[in-house]
């Protein structure tokens, strides 16, 4: 037997203190198999050891929350016996090393998390961050990630309906690929992972186990360096056909009542799924690896336990139901095997070729995993009102801004995703939120993903708040009531006090906003160690929000629809240029304070706007975010080519007014009579409101003087991405 040396411990990503702790828990030294199991279960990726203490502070409850964090995904009640199940998860490290497979398996993994709980996936979103456009790897990574997401999602027949993309040099060495899956189930048919009871068969189904992805979770818990390319063998390979079979077969099995508990095999594969099921059910699990369907010959216990081969599931069945389950998997031509049994010992016992290869108390793997209150320092938030050149012409800046890498149309990306399969997509990519009908009803779910990393870098607390506030705004803007969110916390190395400070402030900001906006976090994922050669990414706590439209026929979209509508601005405009797109793209500087978030105003303005849409009084609405007011007006003009003539009698400073990124604002457009009423109602409710002008023509006209054609803006907005990617081919 291999002797466990300090070098082997270090190779497994465990500290000497952690190794001592393992010895204490076992009462002896672990063998190599056990060490491997501990290394993945105690990895940052699986144990959340740096963040767990802080994640507890997030609000996770509401009357409509059926299942909060801790299961494969969160569940909310959306009325009429329908449940919405969703989660967002990162696949950052593998996607940088092997973009197609990394992104594809990220999509597959998050889909499994959702259908494991009994839901049919109905929509996919993704939040992507790449390095600066000029970086030599960026195009290759964009092309690979996008085709990986499309390759997997398109085959699954689940529409990919939206997302967000940023480019920034802080991601040059660590791209972020966060995928979100939303599914639908019935509230009385939700499946959990607690393996309760002893003597029940543990069954394996799906694809065979191979040697791929061994130690993927450990890789995802470490920084990169120049040799990271050598980690390619730790990236898993996806097979969407197998996943499609697995989805249909799993849902078919779920239609019976044979399942006690079920869990997909994701990070750390068989190890993690069996330990988590035993842990949640308070039982033990004994596995005989001889029965595991294997793709390669002579696999060792160590390899089988740590393999991250994709498209596999583990379930505990009621005794005697194995044959019924096997019939279903045979129909779908998937492997099925009884590989173990639940016990009352509380231990995870692994047998292989007649020998006990591992025997560990399950609580040692889960509850006893270290929780670190890592030291932190809070960097002072960036401050100040940045200077700018007052003489720059506004409309030339608008044209340039609309073609900036972070602002240009993402059509090049989303045309590679099937966004209309399942025939329930009511709002396609390009709006504030995607809207997907609840099949067979008039209800619909609105879905968005948001975070503004440059704000988070300047001020992680306000940035965390802003991510949540913007997610709610995007939902309100289509007329959906924000219900709950999932978070994907992407940060650098938490062992650096300054990074840990960002993590804590980001979580605090998210928590504060979620409490104020009645928007609990019901699932999530942390991705730390996003660093290369000691350089960390901008803090990027992505928020995936879900809202409900009770009557989707009243949904609003961003497009101006009629000539002569009054353009109304809701919310206060101070002209905040700090950390704005304008400052970065036009002045070439990233500085100043990030915009402050007034959560009370967010709530009040959001409720006001949403009630107008729900009442069928407003069908045109857009939230104000990146780029500010004039960019939002242009984005509303682009879809149908209907322009607008806008202005304000007394603007002290034009540039901050048109391009400032003050929060809590919406634009709506409505016919004159309705608009007059809306303005009066807003004033009566002490909501800041301003009439900016009227829709019409095919130009954006400001102050009756300067004008620019919508077609010219469209060319700039649509042109950047295809031009940029041309060089890839």
């Amino acid at each position: 037997m291999t002797e466990i040396t300090s070098a082997i411990v270090a190779e497994h990503g465990l500290s000497p203190e952690e190794y001592e702790r393992i010895k204490g828990l076992l009462g002896r030294a672990p063998n190599l198999v056990e060490l491997g199991v501990f290394s993945v279960m105690w990895s940052e990726h699986c144990s959340y050891k740096s963040t767990r203490a802080h994640l507890r502070k997030l609000p996770t409850k509401a009357p409509w929350v059926i299942q909060g964090p801790g299961e494969n995904a969160g569940v909310i009640d959306i009325g009429d016996g329908d449940a919405c199940i969703f989660k967002m998860e990162s696949h950052n490290h593998p996607s940088f090393i092997e973009p197609y497979q990394g992104a594809a398996t990220g999509v597959g993994g998050i889909m499994r998390d959702v259908f494991t709980m009994g839901a049919r996936p109905i929509a996919m979103m993704n939040a992507l961050r790449f390095g600066e456009p000029d970086h030599p790897k960026t195009r290759h990574l964009v092309a690979g990630v996008v085709s990986g997401i499309g390759g997997y999602g398109n085959c699954m027949g689940v529409p990919t309906v939206g997302g967000e993309v940023n480019f920034h040099r802080s991601y040059n060495g660590n791209i972020l690929v966060n995928a979100m899956c939303v599914g639908l189930a019935r509230t009385d048919k939700i499946f959990l992972s607690a393996a309760k009871g002893a003597g029940n068969p543990v069954v394996y189904f799906g694809s065979k186990t191979g040697r791929d992805g061994i130690h993927g979770a450990t890789m995802a818990s470490a920084e990169f360096d120049d040799a990271s390319e050598e980690k390619r063998p730790t990236v898993q390979v996806g097979d969407p056909f197998a996943e499609k079979l697995l989805l249909e077969a799993t849902l078919e099995l779920m239609a019976t009542d044979a399942i006690i508990a079920i869990q997909d095999m994701g990070a750390a594969g068989l190890t993690s799924s069996s330990a988590e099921m035993g842990d949640k059910g308070g039982s033990g699990i004994e596995l005989n690896l001889d029965h595991v369907p294997q793709r390669e010959a002579n696999m060792t216990a160590y390899e089988m336990l740590l393999s991250e081969s994709q498209e596999r599931m583990l379930a505990v069945l009621k005794p005697g139901r194995e044959a019924e389950a096997e019939r279903i998997f045979k129909k779908w031509e998937l492997d099925f095997a009884v590989i173990g049994v639940t016990t009352d010992t509380g231990r995870l016992v692994i047998k292989h070729k007649g020998q006990v290869q591992a025997d560990m108390p399950i609580t040692a793997l889960s509850d006893a995993a270290p929780v670190y209150e890592r030291p932190f320092t809070h960097r002072a938030p960036a401050k100040g009102e940045p200077a700018y050149d007052k003489s720059r012409p506004v409309l030339a800046s608008l044209e340039k801004t609309l073609a900036a890498p972070d602002m240009a149309s993402r059509r090049w990306i989303w045309e590679q995703y099937d966004n209309s399969v399942m025939n329930d997509t009511q709002q396609h990519p390009g709006g504030d939120a995607a809207v997907v009908r609840v099949h067979g009803t008039k209800k619909a779910l609105a879905i968005t993903t948001d975070v503004t990393p440059r704000y988070c870098r300047a001020d992680p607390l306000e940035g965390g708040k802003q991510a949540v506030a913007e997610a709610c705004r995007n939902l309100n803007a289509v007329g959906a009531t924000p219900l709950a969110a999932t978070d994907n916390l992407n940060f650098g190395n938490p062992q650096k006090p300054e990074i840990m400070g960002e993590v804590i402030a980001g979580i605090d900001g998210i928590g504060e906003a979620c409490r104020a906006l009645d928007f609990p976090i019901i699932s999530g994922n942390c991705s730390l160690y996003n660093e290369t050669n000691g350089e960390g990414i901008f803090p990027t706590p992505a928020v995936g929000g879900v809202g409900l439209l009770k009557d989707a026929s009243k949904m609003a979209t961003i497009a101006f629809k009629r000539e002569g509508d009054v353009v109304i601005l809701i919310g206060e405009t101070h002209g905040h240029l700090g950390q704005s797109i304008y400052l970065r793209e036009i002045e070439g500087r990233e500085e100043g304070a990030s915009p402050p978030v007034d959560l009370a105003a967010e709530k009040k303005h959001g409720d006001f706007v949403r009630s107008l849409i729900e009442a069928g009084r407003v069908d045109t609405c857009h939230d104000l975010s990146d780029g500010g007011l004039l960019v939002a007006i242009a984005e509303m003009a682009l879809p149908k080519g209907i322009g607008a003539s806008v202005g304000q009698a007394s603007i002290p400073h034009a540039i901050p007014f048109w391009f400032g990124e003050d929060q809590g604002r919406y634009l709506i457009a409505a016919p004159f009579a309705e608009a007059e009423k809306i303005v009066a109602e807003a004033r009566a409710a002490y909501i800041p409101v301003a009439e900016l002008g009227k829709t019409g023509g095919n130009e954006i006209v400001i102050d009756d003087k300067a004008r620019i054609g919508v077609a010219k803006l469209r060319a700039a907005h649509e042109g950047w991405f295809p031009d940029f990617m041309k060089a890839e081919l």
């Binding site: 398109n154 085959c155 099937d418 209309s420």
Partner: protein, 220 residues
């Protein structure tokens, strides 16, 4: 009109086809599993979009060898109507129920977007509800929709009025902008765009309704 929808393991527009048929005919179609060797007594068979057996080989190549496709061929030989949409079109060319082949898109990428089509031929059971020259908008969603055939075949298709839909702005490199074609006996239609995704104005439009109405009129 009685109808059936073929279900391969990775069909993924089977439900969309079923919902469209329910909406348009008021009747639920038979959903026929790929391992079946016989079809129920129906007027119309739809081969839906998706990835049939994963399509790691040429799209539709494995599906063309499936048990159910023998039954579909028998149905077609007897003059029964067959509608192949997207992957269904690929399966039909691989099965030689339609001439030509569907290659990788000229742009080498999957493309999903609404496209404008010209109805070239309203003299068919599938298109009698449209007018010649009419523009309709159906979405496409495919990576391999680039229709190719030799010039002789293309000339013949054109000459016999079997080119039914043509792209107004070619999205995939298809020869002569062809989006959909009829079989020689005009009872089999294959097309890459998705008419079943445009039967509901709330989700994309209603230009596909006339295709189903045409079939109901012709086959009932």
């Amino acid at each position: 009109m009685k109808s059936a929808v073929i279900v391969f393991p990775a069909s993924n527009c089977d439900r969309d086809a079923k919902v469209a048929l329910e909406e348009m005919t008021g009747q639920t179609p038979h959903m026929v599993w790929h391992q079946e060797t016989e079809l129920p007594d129906v007027d119309l068979v739809i081969i839906p979009g998706g990835f049939s057996y994963g399509d790691y080989l040429r799209c539709g190549a494995m599906a063309s060898q499936s048990p159910v496709m023998r039954a579909v061929r028998t149905h077609a030989d007897k003059g029964g109507a067959v509608l192949g949409i997207c992957n269904g079109f690929q399966v039909l060319t691989e099965s030689h129920l339609l001439p030509g082949a569907l290659m990788r898109n000229a742009g080498l990428k999957f493309v999903c977007k609404p496209v404008a089509l010209t109805v070239e031929e309203s003299q068919s059971a599938f298109t009698r509800g449209y007018e010649n020259g009419q523009t309709v908008t159906f979405p496409i969603a495919h990576g391999e929709g680039n229709y190719v055939a030799d010039d002789e075949t293309l000339d013949r298709l054109e000459g016999e009025g079997r080119v039914v839909f043509r792209y107004q702005a070619n999205p995939n490199g298809s020869a002569r902008d062809i989006a959909g074609i009829l079989s020689e006996k005009r009872n089999v239609l294959g097309l890459m765009p998705h008419p079943e995704r445009v039967v509901d104005p709330a989700t994309g439009g209603s230009d596909g309704r006339a295709l189903f109405k045409s079939l109901i009129e012709a086959l009932s």
